[in-house]
């Protein structure tokens, strides 16, 4: 009898198979590593969130209510660096991807379990460098580290923070590599590419970006270091360099990085919409290929961040046209999710509320992106609060809503416990309202001309800023409620059972929480993904 078979009959699972801190710090179980990531990214989310709270409090008054201007600069830099590199990029891939990719493809673990643990340690090491940079005085370059602010005129802990991001990048590369190999090589018998859950397609597309894009930002950081320490002329015109070259290298990674954040959420939403409509997805192959198309096109559009930087206007024309192309696969997804709802048996449990919120907010974020991809309107809107609102609709309204939706959906699988659905639905509503109240006024502020990254503003913008700050406090409460009931549910929540949502997919064929090696016998798949409405499951 295998270990997993014994565990299945005795109620032993991955959480209680071993005890003690060593059993967690030296684990190679993909599910435990997912939980290590969950705890770590939640920690960084709280730090990044605290910086946002201070910023929004400060902006209640036109002259600033709380912080010195220099401290304000450090706050928005810290907020951006931590939220982008230490929360959003690892969020769904490292937590849900780690937990679900092996289970969804019917494998016992990822292809390289030790590399998986290594990636978490690398992430923590990078995080420690960045925390040091914050405690030792912070940085004021913004999360973009533009030269010459990060080189000639740097006045903070730029190199420590940049080194933290450099190190953490390798964690991201290793996770992506692990997923690509696992998806190619470890699918269960019968699980063909077009039977894979769309979450797997999304994770595959994300992994491609992680592997191909991250090295470039690492190189850009190394070049900044070379210029600062050895005075090699790369970005400094006085040494024969070009500061705009940094922006090219930075955005070659950092624009696709936005898709590292949003593509996994799109994968989650495909799972949620089908489960809570009890219907097979509309246009499976279109959604699958649109994920790959988004990943590829994401590498062709970076110059739209640089329309007013001194980049050639002819290059701007090309980048503008290519940026519009991203709208096509994104729209395909939105239309297909909506079409899936048509004549479905729709229920509005908490994960579904997040998924529906995602569709609305992502659509707004995407469409306002087209304003910024247009050369003429971007000249007016560039570096205003319109940009801040746009990318928060994508990164928070999109990526974070998807993350929370996924967390609510798979929490019973991860912990074996249910959370109170009423509170969960309430918090989804609070987050949706708080989010819109925070960021919709910022569209108006940006359109009216309020620049981003300023510690003070003209008095006529106060009403909209106060609305935004009020929304942020509602949003903050909305995030704290799930933190409380998730922790509560681990001890007091009702037992979930293997499949509380009646969902399809191999991960729901296992007990909750799953045994250490997931499957007693490796499954054989004989049906398509999302075969809702088929009376008996044909997964043997």
């Amino acid at each position: 009898m295998s270990t997993t078979a014994v565990e299945a009959t005795t109620g032993v699972n991955y959480l209680n198979a071993k005890y003690g801190i060593r059993s967690w710090l030296f684990t190679t179980d993909h599910k435990r590593i997912a939980l290590l990531y969950l705890v770590s990214i939640t920690f960084f989310f709280l730090i990044g969130g605290a910086a946002a709270v201070l910023m929004r409090l400060h902006l209640i008054e036109p002259q600033g209510a709380l912080l010195e201007p220099a401290t304000y600069n450090k706050m928005f830099s810290m907020h951006g660096i931590i939220m982008v590199f230490f929360f959003l990029i690892p969020s769904i891939p490292a937590v849900m991807g780690n937990f679900l990719v092996p289970m969804m493809v019917g494998a016992r673990d990822l292809a390289f379990p030790r590399v998986n643990l290594l990636s978490w340690y690398i992430y923590i090491l990078g995080g420690l460098f960045t925390l040091y940079a914050i405690l030792a005085g912070g940085v004021d370059t913004g999360w973009t580290f533009y030269t010459p602010l990060s080189t000639t005129y740097a006045n903070g802990q730029v190199m420590a923070a940049a080194l933290g991001i450099f190190i953490t990048g390798f964690s991201s590369i290793l996770t992506g590599l692990n997923f690509v190999v696992t998806i190619h090589k470890m699918r269960a018998p019968g699980l063909t590419w077009f039977r894979l859950p769309l979450f797997i397609w999304a994770m595959y597309a994300t992994s491609i970006i992680q592997i191909l894009g991250t090295p470039v930002v690492a190189i850009a950081i190394v070049l900044v270091g070379l210029e600062r320490l050895l005075h090699v002329g790369i970005f400094d015109p006085a040494l024969g360099g070009d500061p705009i070259l940094f922006q090219h290298l930075f955005w070659f990674y950092s624009h696709p990085a936005v898709y590292i954040m949003i593509l996994p959420s799109m994968g989650v939403v495909s799972e949620l919409i089908t489960c809570f409509s009890k219907k097979r997805i509309f246009g499976y192959s279109f959604i699958a290929f649109s994920s790959v198309a988004i990943a590829v096109i994401s590498f062709l559009v970076w110059g739209h961040h640089m329309f007013v930087s001194g980049q050639s206007v002819y290059a701007g024309l090309v980048f503008s046209a290519l940026s519009f192309a991203v709208a096509i696969p994104s729209a395909i997804k939105v239309f297909n999710w909506t079409a899936t709802l048509y004549k479905g048996s729709v229920s509005y449990q908490a994960p579904m509320l997040y998924a529906l919120g995602f569709i609305g907010l992502f659509t707004m974020g995407g469409l306002t992106g087209l304003f910024l991809a247009s050369l003429a309107t971007d000249i007016h809107l560039h570096d205003t609060y319109f940009v801040i609102a746009h990318f928060h609709y994508i990164m928070v309204g999109g990526a974070l809503m998807g993350y929370l939706g996924g967390l609510h959906f798979w929490w019973p699988k991860m912990t074996g416990r249910l959370y109170p659905d009423g509170w969960a639905r309430f918090s989804a509503l609070v987050i949706f309202i708080g989010f819109n109240l925070t960021f919709f006024p910022q569209f108006m502020l940006g359109y009216l001309g309020m620049p981003r990254r300023y510690a003070v503003y003209p008095p006529e913008f106060q009403v909209l800023n106060v609305m935004s700050s009020a929304g942020a406090s509602i949003l903050g409460v909305g995030y704290l409620i799930p933190l409380v009931y998730f922790i509560w549910s681990m001890r007091y929540g009702p037992v979930a059972g293997p499949n509380p949502w009646g969902a399809k997919g191999l991960e729901w064929e296992t007990p909750s929480p799953p045994p250490t090696e997931n499957f007693e016998e490796l499954p054989i798949v004989e049906e398509e993904a999302y075969a809702y409405g088929v009376k008996e499951a044909r997964v043997v």
Partner: protein, 109 residues
């Protein structure tokens, strides 16, 4: 797929070639060839990289999938270079406005 076994002799030959090419790079850097200096240094570096990938990393004997992955990486590098150059090669196309010519020419090199 069973791992391909390569005689030690091949490894030593490749190692010698890498050392030789490093020496060549160093020598080429001491000869003033104008713009060709960079081109030659990059060509030698590309040769060295190819040797490492093909022999030390066994790409020559790997399956098609692995080879496609390696080619994809080069394709992405080509995207990076091509679109970045689309900026640098066209900056001069925009005529400088009267009165701004001096200051803008400085950046239009």
């Amino acid at each position: 797929m069973s791992p391909h076994i390569i005689p030690k002799r091949t490894y030593f030959l490749i190692f010698a070639a890498l050392i030789g090419l490093t020496a060549l790079t160093t020598y080429a850097a001491t000869v003033d060839l104008g713009r060709l200096n960079t081109v030659i240094a990059l060509l030698i570096a590309a040769c060295k990289g190819s040797l490492v990938a093909l022999f030390f990393m066994h790409l020559r004997w790997s399956g098609r999938l692995t080879q496609i992955v390696a080619v994809a990486a080069l394709f992405w590098l080509a995207i990076l270079l091509a679109l970045t150059l689309s900026d640098y090669r066209t900056r001069r196309w925009t005529p400088a406005a009267e009165g701004w010519a001096t200051s803008s020419n400085q950046f239009n090199r």
